[in-house]
Symmetry: C2
Subunit: 341 residues, 2 copies
Amino acid sequence: MDLREIARRAKVSTATVSRAINHVSTVNPQLAKRVWKVVDELGYFPNTQARALVSGRSRILGLIVSEITNPFFPEIVQTFEHLAVENNYEILLTSTVNDPKRMEQSVRRMIERRVEGVAILTFGMEESLLGHLRFRKVPLVFVDVGPDAPGIVNIRINYLNGIRQAVQHLAALRHTRIAFVAGPSRLKSALARTEAFKTSMAEIGLLPEVIVTGDHTMEGGMRAMVELLGARDQPTAVVCSNDMTAIGVMREAYDHGITIPTDLSIVGFDDIRLAQFMTPPLTTVQMSQKELAQIAFRALLDEVGRESRSTQKSEYELITSLILRRSTAMARPLNDAHREQ
Amino acid sequence: MDLREIARRAKVSTATVSRAINHVSTVNPQLAKRVWKVVDELGYFPNTQARALVSGRSRILGLIVSEITNPFFPEIVQTFEHLAVENNYEILLTSTVNDPKRMEQSVRRMIERRVEGVAILTFGMEESLLGHLRFRKVPLVFVDVGPDAPGIVNIRINYLNGIRQAVQHLAALRHTRIAFVAGPSRLKSALARTEAFKTSMAEIGLLPEVIVTGDHTMEGGMRAMVELLGARDQPTAVVCSNDMTAIGVMREAYDHGITIPTDLSIVGFDDIRLAQFMTPPLTTVQMSQKELAQIAFRALLDEVGRESRSTQKSEYELITSLILRRSTAMARPLNDAHREQ
DNA sequence: ACGACTTGGGTATACGTTTACTGCATCAAC
DNA sequence: GTTGATGCAGTAAACGTATACCCAAGTCGT
């Protein structure tokens, strides 16, 4: 069942059907009604591929994330999807799981489907891959992972703001030995968080001595906590590079009979939805996934709409801020060791 | 840059280029090499919409879930995506958030993009909507939500197996007052879990007296726990219809100073990845999301491959089983009340 | 040496839309 | 009544690919 069939049954030409369906003004209302009647009767839906072919517009937007099973992303995907539908777009979702092969596949899939633009939320895309997209003038929007070059749309995140609040909050609770569990060093955004931590500590005259490295997973958080427990000078508080890490840290602490927040204060980062349902609810730095997605989508849509790729550098910024919950408490006045398992 | 351009540069016809790209045997290896050389040089990728148009195959599979932010789904989406790519398909992901309007949109989007098949993991799709898909002979695979009609491919889940294990496990720990937090009653799969609980309790001669209703969210779990606390005969163990509910229950218990598992044993359902990272790690009934996705994908691919829709009823079954972790423990010998906040 | 196959590449059509162009009315203005 | 403008619907040409069909040249049997 196609447009021609509609035309035949409504006794008009295909052009008229097309115009009626697309609400082009130059079609007689009465004819339009006749066309719509047939369309509804037959339950006809236009073929998007044919449309895309002739119009040169696929009405598909690409979304490349690193891992959809990371609770940080589903919220973003959801928001993206809603906005896409509202704007009559489809989204092509791709996850790289940080695998170069999958990254290449992602790009290929995007190009084959002729996406009109791509939002990139994964780090480590080879420049050569991005070249494929740029070569075809596909608008790109990077979220916190983009290169610092002109003409690149980048959503930046102000990490310092929230992390400074976290550190100051802990300091106000009389914590002095504050540890940091960093994210993987290949991740620029993780590096930025570590830097923000160091800066914040320095600002209030504390030494950011204890920094261990995680990998932004729960398992990594567990390992980091083990490492922390081995340190000679036990921290009384730990700030984590993301919430997943914090969850791992909490879990490992539990295994060692360490009570949160009595024995140890913990602060996360991201404020994934789950954070508030932990026991205890996790104090964390908020970075609204929904807002992030909205900004990214809007930016992408703007780029797609712009006829000529502008060379001006577009920057957007997302502010982060501390959300107080119950995984942080006053530091113990004396250095009484917690009970080891 | 299109196939014709390649043809021009390789000094062959478009037919040859097409054949070379698709590895059709009838093309001279030397010519093929020449074609591929140009293809690589230009970084050419075939246009999928044009392909779809002429071949009548979109190479897109639909995937309708209820809510991607529900941690149960991302794992499934991921597996589905991987399998799709392996089979040279793209997936069109849609979430209904249990909104009739979005369900309708989902179906429309699927049809417009001419998906070759759809996997449905959401409940409450109107029969009239499904009719649109059936009318177009789009292969459908339901995961635990399908109608019991012939010719419908349905992946069924054996709830009884795992829930019986859970109940028996609790009974072995000397629990007699075992509560159940049910899921929303409009959800058939939730109803099935409740039934399985009742059956299991009856089997060992216990009364399934305390059943409160949640909604498969963490907030619902919290509310259910509040309700449970108000009951005159406090349960010593509670089985939850899904893990999200269990997390909510645990969280609310924490707020009331109730310690898990000392004061209260908790069992979840689904074994989402998070379950093992709770404090304490959640004892739960496993229902492998990955396996589920694999079964569903395979079933869908089979249906798509089958030339004529078979009328035989295809059934697949997924077994569930209890995973022991640390949210369950021996029931207190005496009925010493837990401390209220 | 000649016809019958076989092999493999080219020609041209079709897929389902959109849209530039064409052409027929109708109508206003003179 | 002729001319010019305007409104609207129809005709046909794209969009980029796959493939049915055709045809040239080579192979082989007799």
